[in-house]
Amino acid sequence: MSEEDKPKQPQEPEGQEAPEAEEKETPTPSEPSSKSAAPEKAAKPAPPKAARKKVLSYEDLEEDTLLQKLKEKFSEHIFSAQSFLHQPIYTVSVDCLYDVMIELKDSPDWDFDYLVDLTALDYLGDDKRFCMVYHLYSYKHGKLIRIKARISEEEVVPSVTSIWKTADWMEREVYDLFGIEFSGHDNLKRILLPDDWHGHPLRKDYDIKLQDQAWIKKHLHIRKTPE
């Protein structure tokens, strides 16, 4: 194919849209490309574009009333309050996590009666490896906040099922996929994966193609799974 042919649109009768108004950035065909390391390499032209905008970052919330109230009550267990894109984030110590949650739910000032979400993050390599993330919402005040608590791999998180019933399955899911234990949960077993599965898939050291070969052999009678 010659260079002049390139911009030509194929003139097929069906299946073709009229050329769109939107821009279609045509990369130069000579750009070096390799399949495996696609995003990193292709990302090179991106930084100058992003630089044009105001760079988003975490902002500290010092004046926040909730933070002050919590600090009064739990003093050194509350670490910080930040916000990202106007979503407040409170980092607390796992030791007082349960008490903070009770305070947040029961205190009429806050009234976070709805546990939106409960999940975890895995910062592999950090001292405190996992980070528990709770999203709380108050129907009365229409406020959404995020509570974070860092824990190390051995630490046990207090279960909040006695505060919000909805935490039941979410904690089971975190237990299943991250292997984080919850104390005070009365039915803590795997939920999405089979009970006798080994490994916790959402941990960062669990490769995406990793499977529990022993389990597969035992239950599915597949000798060797395709690579």
């Binding site: 939107e22 970052s57 939106v116 909805t166 399955w169 089979p194 959402l202």
Partner: protein
């Protein structure tokens, strides 16, 4: 002796019955272990995970653009709103301005997807309770919506509806007329379903007083969407935390009174009417302009985290996106509304009859693709 051992099934006081994962009315691969005393449910345990594909894990290994099609496959009944929720989060983190026209079309299509999803819910709910004609009437209308999806997105079910910064392409010719035709005819169709169900004594007997949950308890269980609203809590993410331009449209949030299956049915029917109202407004006020904002080719949000919750057809669908500054998400947590509302099943079915289990599973409107992810 052997015969006696074999007949223990009949001797047992409590009959343990496995409903699912291959059962006509568990809406996929839900398995419910029922403990029955006669036909009365003593206890129930949900066993899920048969459809677990690890979408959250897959997301961590794909770029932001690449992982969007996978969200079609979580809640495959309302694929459009799934993608919408995620993209709203990404666009917020990237500070991408979405053109007005794209915003409007997005809202229209999510509302269409809500109607389609509710239609499918009504269809399956009705056939679970035995009214199989409603099933096909609903599918007929849903088909029209799927045709609209096909014309705009190029696929019917797993639509890969929106792109970062807007839409793939603008509305195809004839789309607005087809959409108008649909919403003009739609109320008539809903009346037909109502004629077959709403006042029907059998339908009322099967749904009224079944699976009652109070508003307070519903909040405690984290229920959202029509299930919460059926219990009388007037909460809708579209109203309380408007996103994507919903504040410009006028619609009501219907609520029920008794929190039973019948009220949830009425709430969903009314929601279809409200969605229709929103679509009507979109079509009337659809601005001109581009449909795709200035989005970089490589989506690389800054280090940070964002929770974007939208009101999907089944409740609050949340995407908690954590970025470490690279082209892959550090973590995407999907808050699946039906995963969370399914756990209330155990509480709702206790003391009811076995036939009610079906009705209650139906009224929770679960999608196993989303429950298991």
């Amino acid at each position: 002796m052997k015969a006696m051992e074999e007949s223990t099934v009949l001797d047992a006081k409590v009959l343990e019955l496995n409903m699912g994962p291959q059962h006509p009315s568990t809406h996929g691969v839900l398995r419910v272990k029922l403990k029955l005393d006669g036909e009365r449910v003593v206890d129930a345990e949900c066993i899920i995970g048969y459809l677990h594909r690890g979408v959250e894990k897959i997301s961590e290994n794909r770029s932001y653009i690449e992982c969007v099609p996978y969200y079609d496959r979580t809640d495959y009944i309302a694929a459009v709103s799934n993608v919408y929720g995620f993209l709203l989060g990404v666009e917020a983190m990237m500070q991408i301005e979405v053109p007005k026209r794209a915003q409007y079309i997005r809202i229209m299509m999510t509302e269409f997807s809500r109607i389609a999803s509710h239609l499918l819910w009504l269809a399956t709910h009705a056939i679970d309770i035995g009214a199989m004609t409603v099933f096909l009437y609903c599918f007929r209308e849903r088909e029209e919506i799927l045709k609209l999806f096909e014309a705009l997105f190029g696929a019917r079910l797993t639509t890969h509806a929106f792109r970062v910064g807007g839409l793939w392409k603008d509305l195809p010719p004839g789309f607005v007329e087809a959409a108008r035709k649909f919403i003009d005819e739609f109320p008539e169709r809903v009346d037909e379903y109502e004629q077959l169900l709403t006042k029907n004594r059998i339908w009322m007997a099967r749904t009224q007083g079944i699976g009652v949950i109070s508003g307070k308890e519903a909040i405690e269980w984290g229920l959202t969407g029509p299930v919460l609203r059926g219990s009388g809590v007037r909460h809708d993410v579209r109203k309380d935390r408007p996103y994507g331009g919903y504040e410009e449209f006028d619609f009501d949030v219907p609520v029920g009174e008794n929190g039973d299956t019948y009220d949830r049915y009425l709430v969903r029917l009314e929601e279809m009417h409200q969605s229709r109202r929103i679509i009507q407004q979109v079509l009337d006020r659809l601005p001109d302009g581009p449909v795709r904002g200035k989005a970089p080719k490589i989506v690389k949000p800054p280090v940070g985290e964002y929770y974007s919750g939208i009101d999907g057809p089944r409740g609050e669908l949340g995407y908690y996106i954590v970025s470490d500054g690279s082209a892959h998400p550090f973590r995407v947590r999907i808050r699946p509304p039906t995963f969370i509302s399914l756990q209330v099943l155990r509480r709702l079915v206790k003391g009811h009859l076995m036939a009610d289990v079906i009705a209650i599973i139906g009224t929770l409107d679960i999608v196993l693709g989303e429950v298991d992810r």
